[in-house]
């Protein structure tokens, strides 16, 4: 089921509809063209915890990513608008958010990883950091394997190693592991 609205007032009405399963929002929308899309996303997740929201924007800010992630566990996405041009990957991202996953734009992840960090993250090898970045983008093991040209089994091994080095519990589900990693990154 799909519905399109073009301003924040109608959006509030649409999001109040119990039959809506999730929302794809633009950060900027009428009437004030600032960040009401983001505010609406956070507000609806306050009223309906875990409500899946994918937020799109012409630019990404770590600050906004933090606020979105702080609005509850999982079922949240934050992507640059032009990622939509890769339709397959975008639809895949929306599905993952609807399924409770977390999808972050590679640019946000890169910005987070670029910050100088303390100890534990330095213990990771370069390859493990790559895997961690792709995990934060919300990719599955198969997708990470394809991106890095390694087998899924090798990816799983890297992930276990990352979890061990970051002192994270090993047996988390696919979606929750992203959450755990992001929480660890203090994003």
């Amino acid at each position: 089921m799909a519905r399109a609205v073009d301003n924040a007032v109608e959006l509030d009405g649409a999001l109040a509809d119990p039959h809506v399963d999730g929302a794809v929002l633009d950060v900027r929308m009428p009437p004030s063209f600032t960040d009401e899309g983001l505010r609406a996303a956070i507000a609806v997740r306050e009223r309906r915890p875990g409500f899946p929201v994918m937020v799109l924007s012409q630019y990404v800010e770590q600050l906004y990513a933090r606020e979105l992630l702080a609005s509850g566990e999982g079922a949240v996405g934050y992507l640059l608008k032009d990622r939509v041009s890769d339709v397959r990957q975008f639809v895949d991202g929306v599905r993952r958010v609807l399924g409770g996953g977390t999808v972050l734009d590679p640019e946000v992840v890169a910005a987070v990883m670029a910050r100088r960090r303390d100890e534990p993250l330095d213990r990771l090898t370069a390859r493990e950091k790559e895997v961690l970045s792709l995990m934060a983008e919300g990719r599955s093991n198969a997708s990470i394997g394809a991106a890095l040209f390694v087998t899924e089994k090798a990816v799983a091994k890297h992930i276990n190693s990352i979890f061990a080095k970051l002192d994270l519990p090993v047996d988390l589900e696919v979606n929750r592991r992203v959450q755990a990693v992001l929480a660890y990154l203090r994003l």
Binding site: S32, T34, D35, Y59, E61, Q62, D82, S85
Partner: protein
């Protein structure tokens, strides 16, 4: 510059007759150093062709300047107003440079005019106050007459020792002309930079996209597979062009600044820095848009400088707005020794802030910490009001 119409700072703390007489006594005693200063100036002026003359003139002027500054404070206290020292700052260099700048300072000549008053009629008034008290029979006149006599003397002193309304306006016009020229230069330079960014980045990439698509069009018939690859390349080039455009937009006006104002934008900026930056304080409303943007880029420049040169572990930004003045402090615990005149970036920041009567002060002793204080007089609008306040021209003289 002083503003003589300013309300008295502490009405109740006006000095009584006894304190006034002490001032008068001090003024009577100045006769000796003032005469000395005058003699030094005249003799030095005559001998100016040989070096010792220059030293004498400089010495004489400095003596007079010291006493004149003291008189500004006394007159300020007598009249209950605040009189700051109006001299131009001394330029770096030898005594000759110093003397030249003093001779070019109109206040120096006002000092000399005041000197003639202070050793004649002014001196007589002060002496009269002292005599009225010392001669016990006139105590009645002393008690009631002293405040009036000292007020008259102080008023005349200040007409010599502070700039008049016309001169203040002239100085203000000169400062405005300078800062306007700098603001125009700055925006012209910004436009050139934008033109370069768009020309070398976005435009070049769009040309590449267009070429790829043209090629794909030709390939469709013979080699659909190659055409598909070319289209996919074109799509990637489009993404790169968008990324370029995004960074250009960020350089003009960061979207987060439009969304969240200075407060949120500085917090977002702090998150993007490689080392931890702590943001404290905050603003309860929105600033006028041009000031918001100027201060944002000033803070960005300070943090970027710190990251480049300071070798610090930790930096901080403090935001606040009080008594109609926005004050932002950017500091880091790096090695210090930053020279604001050394880099074009910091000079650009100063010029941009000067257009709003804003100031930048840098304290950076060797060994750190470096602390940059930015101050801009401006109004703060209600956060619920969607329109931002206008930039109000400040009435403060330069």
């Amino acid at each position: 510059m002083s503003d003589l119409s300013a309300p008295p700072s502490a009405e109740s703390a006006r000095p009584g007759p006894l304190r006034l007489t002490a001032y008068a006594g001090e003024q009577v005693l100045w006769l000796v150093p003032l005469l000395l200063g005058l003699v030094l100036f005249v003799v030095g002026g005559v001998l100016a062709i040989i070096w010792v003359g220059i030293a004498l003139v400089l010495g004489g002027l400095l003596v007079v300047r010291g006493i004149a500054d003291r008189q500004r404070r006394i007159a300020g206290r007598v009249l209950g107003i605040d009189v700051p020292s109006p001299y131009r700052p001394a330029p770096p260099g030898g005594p000759l440079v110093r003397l030249w700048s003093m001779i070019g300072d109109p206040m120096t000549w006002r000092d000399l005019g005041w000197l003639l008053w202070a050793i004649t009629a002014g001196w007589v008034i002060s002496l009269l106050v002292v005599v009225l008290m010392v001669a016990v029979a006139t105590l009645f006149f002393w008690w009631f007459g002293t405040p009036h006599l000292m007020a008259v003397r102080s008023r005349v002193d200040l007409t010599f020792l502070t700039y008049g309304a016309t001169e203040r306006l002239e100085q203000r016009v000169a400062a405005l002309t300078r800062s306007r020229a700098e603001a125009v230069d700055h925006s012209a330079a910004e436009l050139r930079r934008l033109e370069r960014d768009l020309h070398d980045g976005t435009q070049a990439r769009l040309v590449a996209v267009s070429m790829s698509l043209g090629m794909a069009e030709a390939q469709f018939e013979d080699d659909p597979e190659a055409a598909r690859r070319t289209v996919s390349e074109a799509r990637e080039a489009t993404s790169a062009a968008i990324a370029d455009l995004r960074s250009v937009v960020r350089g003009i006006h960061p979207p987060v600044l439009a969304d969240r104002g200075l407060d949120g934008a500085v917090r977002a900026l702090a998150l993007d820095m490689a080392v931890p930056v702590e943001v404290s304080g905050g603003l309860s409303g929105r600033l006028p848009l041009p000031i918001e943007s100027a201060v944002y880029f000033a803070v960005a420049e300070c943090l970027a400088n710190a990251a480049k040169h300071a070798g610090h572990e930790h930096a901080w930004v403090e935001l606040g707005h009080r008594d109609g003045v926005l004050r932002v402090v950017v500091g880091d615990d790096g090695r210090g020794g930053a020279d604001p005149d050394a880099g074009t970036g910091m000079r650009g920041v100063m010029r941009r802030l000067a257009a709003f009567d804003g100031t930048m002060a840098v304290s950076s002793p060797a060994g750190g910490p470096t602390v940059v204080t930015l101050e801009v007089p401006c109004a703060l609008s209600d956060p619920h009001d969607s329109s931002s306040p206008r930039t109000t021209p400040s009435s403060a003289p330069a």
